[in-house]
Amino acid sequence: MELNIDIVEERNKSVVRLSGEIDVYTAPQLKEKLLPLTKMTGNEVEVDMEFVSYMDSTGLGVFISALKSSNENSSKLKMINLSDRVYRVFNITGLHEIMDLERINKVER
């Protein structure tokens, strides 16, 4: 019932490793850590979601504002290793059409 957020900074790239649940309780922490990374021009932000066991619309909200910010600041946002469960939430809401998503063991966008 917590969300661990691990950030590794590489050259022009930030890798964000999440593990736990993204809900109304944890989404604010995620937003606070993720948004600054998308504000660095030219930065490639890769969010590894392999160990995200739960996500609802509060998570979508965070990724939508991160996407907007990355568009405004010419950075890139990519979510990788999405489980079927997590992908399902993006997919039902149609957001898979505008987000750069890579499913676990399945390449899609």
């Binding site: 019932m1 109304v24 309780y25 939508i64 939430v89 809401t93 059409e97």
Partner: protein
């Protein structure tokens, strides 16, 4: 012996307790016989309803109370989420929710409005009641995944 078991919970309107309800729900849904996938879907739907009560209920964070009732039937689960906050214009809201549409430009992309839509997609039947003293969301999920329309308003008549 009645044909429904009622489980009622009251929690503070605080974000940190949504996860607790998900655990309770998983136990109840497991008892009824829902699959892992179905349980995960119901978890999202209930979390969305509780999140709305917390963020839109109109109460200061941590001051309101949310009531969650589980109606356990042989063929279905009914979940009611009720807050004691402000009501809202359902029709006005309904015109705004739904999936992302390609026509939306990136700048206008809304960051919310997916919660009620997810509830509708993930559950078989949804009923929203706007009272003077808060909003009540009644959600039904059938065991076989098919939303048969039966006379099943036992929980709703309680609200």
């Amino acid at each position: 012996m009645s044909n429904v078991d009622l489980i009622e919970m009251k929690i503070p309107a605080k974000a940190e307790y949504v996860g607790v309800i998900r655990l309770t729900l998983s136990g109840i849904a497991n008892r009824i016989g829902f699959s892992y996938e179905e349980i995960e879907d119901i978890k999202v739907a209930i979390s969305e309803a509780i999140t709305n009560s917390i963020t839109h209920g109109g109460v200061k964070e941590g001051e309101g109370e949310i009531t969650i009732s589980f109606g356990v039937y042989e063929d279905r689960l009914e979940v009611m989420v009720a807050d004691d906050g402000e009501s809202f214009q359902l029709n006005e809201v309904k015109s705004k929710i739904g999936p992302y549409k390609k026509s939306e430009s990136m700048e206008d992309l809304r960051e919310g409005g997916f919660g009620l839509f997810l509830i509708e997609v993930l559950m078989d039947k949804v009923q929203i009641n706007n009272g003077l003293d808060g909003v009540t969301v009644l959600m039904t999920k059938y065991l076989n995944g098919v939303g048969v329309d039966l006379d099943d308003d036992q929980v709703s008549s309680q609200s």
